[in-house]
């Protein structure tokens, strides 16, 4: 811990609203105009809305996606999750 217990903490009269953005590296297996298939170390909930940043040899592409399917798969003896993502914008 980086000393958080030593610091004085302050509670808020009105809690601030926000969001945690939690990124995970994925391998993109293939894609079409409307869908992307990726392999991830973590599963995802069906219909969960996520953001995908994809990078090839050109500039990266950012898109909003919806999880259409999440299936556990065994790759090189390790459990991974193949996600089918529908592009929503």
């Amino acid at each position: 811990m980086a000393g958080s217990r030593r610091d004085q903490r302050f509670s808020l009269r009105v809690p601030w609203e926000g969001a945690l953005r939690l990124p995970t590296d994925v391998t993109i297996e293939r894609y079409s105009e409307n869908e992307v298939w990726v392999v991830s170390t973590t599963p995802a909930h069906r219909d969960e809305l996520l953001t995908l940043d994809a990078t090839g040899s050109g500039p990266s592409v950012t898109m909003s996606v919806r999880v259409a399917e999440s299936v556990p798969v065994l790759i090189d003896g390790v459990v991974r999750h193949r996600l089918r993502l529908a592009v929503v914008d």
Binding site: M1, A2, G3, S4, R5, R6, D7, Q8, R9, F10, S11, L12, R13, V14, P15, W16, E17, G18, A19, L20, R21, L22, P23, T24, D25, V26, T27, I28, Y31, S32, E33, N34, V36, V38, S40, A44, E48, L49, L50, T51, L52, D53, A54, T55, G56, S57, G58, V61, M63, V65, L83, L85, V87
Partner: protein, 130 residues
């Protein structure tokens, strides 16, 4: 996605979840959040907070996540600010430092007083706030 948008021998990606949170308390080095989703210990992410019309952002490392008993699926998430970059103009760390400096000197804010934002101070005793 346009089929030709990504070309190259290997296409890699970063998939990001967005977990709604509420900030319960804060210090210069970390904060306590409330969430309806479990977040794994050790997860690194970006915390984005909206305060009035301003948005503040910082990277955090999740150090604990506990289910609040009897709450259904409400979690308390402890997080430390990841101090690998100089705090930018929209840094949460910078905003908190400004608020705390104002409390010490009792200087007025533009829109609201800092004392209205902060309800009380919690001196850390090593015990977690719950």
């Amino acid at each position: 996605m346009k089929p030709n948008a990504l070309e190259g021998p290997e296409v890699i990606g970063m998939l990001a979840r967005h977990v709604p949170t509420r900030l319960i308390d804060i210090s210069r080095t970390g904060c306590l959040l409330e969430s309806r989703q479990r977040v794994e210990h050790g997860t690194v992410g970006e915390l984005r907070l909206q305060v009035d019309r301003d948005i503040f952002v910082d990277d955090v490392l999740v150090t604990r996540c506990v289910l609040v008993e009897g709450s259904g699926s409400l979690y308390l998430v402890g997080a430390e600010f990841v101090q690998t970059r100089r705090p930018g103009e929209r840094s949460i760390r910078r905003a908190v430092t400004a608020i705390l400096r104002g409390l010490a000197t009792d200087q007025p804010l533009r829109h609201d007083s800092r004392r209205k934002i902060v309800v009380n101070s919690l001196h850390s005793t090593g015990e977690e706030v719950s």
